[in-house]
């Protein structure tokens, strides 16, 4: 394999890896504040892309994306307020089933609104056949957009959690909900906020990646499974872990094509998921110490 080809595979893996990482971070934000894995996480990505495409019919691209992100955030908030907030200490099993039900519902609503056809936003710069050449490696400008926007988001999030008041309150809620409540933090609102945040970053990712991968009503489930794999791989709750895990999975998938038939590409994620679950459920970066796990 030539160096050029090697780099081409890495670029392909990178694009995907960063999207997986965003979905995984979405999982983590909600998991940290509530202890719930939101199985409808992938649907946020789908909603972001779909709504933006609809808005783009009559709005300029930046406004369309902004609108889509805001609507998805509202959806996230409603999800918590209507379905989750008022439940008194629900069992894990019940929460799994409710979020699965929500993911089915969102998907079906999307199917009946937008139909089965695939949609995509236009390329932010250039078009379908534009590509930049870096020493023989050809990269679509949209790949740079995706990687760039997602990196900025990840960085922004960690700053938000570290330095802003709201971010700190959310961390406090995730560290110890009762203690946070006693300190006068409205933990209920923090939970809603975590849904809003995770819906928002999912929607942004859905927008920037849609020119490359298209969006369709049923892309959510696949993304959720990959995202969860990444979240576990990196250690549930750790955002650094999510980024590293995402890149590992993306690049592994991309290289798997070189040695395995392409039909088995999706099996890589599942194999990694099962291996990690069986061998080291705390993930690569997670420690068995629960508090360390929950530190964002």
């Amino acid at each position: 394999m030539s160096l050029e080809l090697l780099l081409q595979y890495i670029v392909a893996g990178l694009t995907y890896g960063i999207i997986y990482a965003i979905v995984a971070i979405g999982f983590n934000i909600i998991y940290n504040t509530t202890g719930i894995i939101n199985f409808a996480q992938g649907e946020f990505v789908m909603l972001g892309g779909m709504i933006a495409v609809s808005f783009n019919a009559f709005l300029p691209l930046p406004l369309a994306i902004l609108g889509a992100v805001i609507i998805t955030m509202i959806t996230g908030a409603l999800m918590d307020i209507i379905f989750i907030r008022w439940l008194r200490s629900p069992s894990v099993l019940r929460m799994i089933i409710i979020t699965i039900g929500l993911s089915i519902l969102i998907r079906e609503v999307a199917l009946h609104i937008w139909g089965e056809s695939v949609r995509a936003l236009p390329y932010f710069t250039g078009n379908e056949i534009t590509s930049l050449s870096f020493g023989g490696v050809r990269v679509s400008p949209q790949v740079l957009w995706t990687v760039g926007v997602c990196s900025v988001m990840v960085a922004g999030l960690s700053l938000f959690f570290r330095y802003t008041m709201v971010g700190r309150k959310m961390r406090a809620t995730s560290d110890n909900r009762n203690a946070a409540l006693l300190c006068g933090i409205s933990t209920g609102n923090m939970v809603t906020l975590s849904f809003v945040l995770s819906a928002g970053i999912g929607a942004v990712a859905g927008c920037v990646v849609s020119p490359i991968t298209y969006t369709q009503y049923n892309i959510g489930t696949g993304l959720a499974i990959k995202g969860f794999t990444v979240a576990i791989l990196g250690g549930l709750g750790s955002s650094v872990g999510a980024v590293v895990g995402g890149l590992i999975l993306g690049i592994l998938e991309s290289f798997s094509i070189w040695v395995l038939p392409a039909a088995y590409k999706d099996a890589i994620a599942i194999a990694i998921l099962l291996l990690i679950l069986f061998l080291k459920p705390s993930g690569l970066f997670g420690k068995s110490d629960v508090m360390a796990l929950k530190e964002f």
Partner: protein, 380 residues
């Protein structure tokens, strides 16, 4: 206490089951289509086409004074549902004929049910096994995969292409195409250097086309009916794999061209003439039929017509013509279909016979290409 509730519920169910059915003086035509689910891009235009045609026929007073009663069942591409619906339509609704299913897998599951139930089945699925071996009551309207493959290889021969790469989606359509591509290639002196299957839900195939590039193929054939067709085209251009891209007749949907944008330019694929109805010469016998269907469909549903809907059009119109010719006797209608000659449909000109329940020949395909975001005939 729970026992009583169960009994109460059961009584309700019983009451519901024995409610009287309405009998009507109509010709019942059943349709099992994948309106939702993974094959909805087939089933959805098929269902819309059937609804439109049934209304049209009924507005004209029906056939032999009887209206057509269309019963569309959405199988979501689940074979077990197709089986349940087929039995329901045959035994309970006692339909005159069944149109569909949309996918080959479902059709094969109900082929025997239709045969035993002596009910005409006009499948909208492509696989050759549907009509080979020939079952007395089973017909299909889409063109055979092998014709599409031969058309492509003929074109390659003209262009001097000898070494190709094949990529297919993991659907029944892709599976059947791969088999034919590999089988027929030696006849045309074409060598398949690499043959790959990708997931039908794949959203990025850069790594796959990179693999093709490494093999130095002279052309790529992609065989699928899923959105990934546009992705192959885009990814090839993005990594600079600038060889001709051939697609299957599954590319016959303008949505895929739009999705691929500039990357769709120059794609070559075989398809029925529906997509290029406007640019056909007036002497073409299909032109009138094609234009009417296209205009009717597009003005009613505000979306571009696709060849898949055309398969349902052909199935329905063949049935209508056979009923007009042979009357309301199922057996006679079946015979009429089997002996039908020169039926001008969207997929081509059908000439059925007792050994050929598809009725189309290789000429039913034309080679098309994409120019300025539109389908057009490939200049020879």
């Amino acid at each position: 206490m729970r026992v009583f509730r169960v009994i109460l519920l059961s009584i309700l169910v019983l009451a519901f089951l024995v409610s009287p059915a309405l009998a009507g003086d109509t010709i019942k035509v059943g349709a099992i289509l994948a309106v939702t689910g993974p094959a909805s891009f087939l089933g959805s235009p098929e269902a819309k086409t059937l609804q439109m045609l049934a209304e049209e026929v009924n507005a004209k007073g029906g056939i032999h004074g009887k209206k057509i009663e269309l019963i569309i069942k959405d199988s979501g591409a689940n074979p077990e549902k197709a089986i349940s619906f087929a039995k329901q339509l045959i035994e309970e609704e006692k339909v005159f004929a069944i149109i569909g299913p949309s996918t080959s897998g479902e059709t094969m599951k109900i082929k025997n049910i239709a045969e035993k139930g002596r009910t005409i089945l006009l499948s909208c699925a492509a696989a050759e096994v549907i009509v080979n071996p020939v079952a007395k009551y089973v017909f299909k309207t889409p063109q055979k995969d092998s014709f599409a493959v031969r058309k492509i290889y003929e074109q390659m021969k003209k262009m001097g292409i000898k070494k190709i790469g094949v990529v297919v989606g993991n659907t029944g359509f892709g599976k059947a195409g791969k088999k034919q591509l590999e089988k027929i290639a030696p006849e045309y002196g074409i060598k398949i250097l690499i043959s790959e299957v990708y997931d039908k839900k794949a959203t990025d195939l850069t790594a796959l086309v990179t693999k093709l590039k490494a093999k130095n193929v002279e052309a790529v054939v992609n065989w699928s009916i899923v959105p990934a067709q546009s992705i192959v085209a885009k990814n090839m251009k993005q990594i600079g794999l600038n060889v001709p891209l051939f697609q299957s007749h599954g590319f016959g949907n303008i949505k895929y061209v739009k999705a691929a944008g500039a990357a769709a330019e120059g794609i070559i694929f075989p398809a029925g003439r529906l997509l290029v109805a406007d640019v056909l010469p007036d002497s073409n016998p299909q032109k009138k039929v094609l234009l009417k269907y296209k205009n009717d469909y597009e003005s009613r549903y505000k979306e571009a017509v696709s060849t898949f809907g055309g398969h349902a059009y052909d199935a329905f119109m063949i049935l209508v013509r056979a009923i007009k010719e042979a009357g309301l006797d199922k057996e006679k209608v079946r015979d009429a279909i089997e002996n039908m000659k020169g039926f001008v449909g969207t997929g081509g000109i059908f000439n059925f016979s007792p050994t050929d329940h598809n009725g189309l020949d290789m000429d039913s395909f034309a080679m098309l290409t994409v120019k300025n975001g539109k389908f057009t005939l490939l200049e020879e």
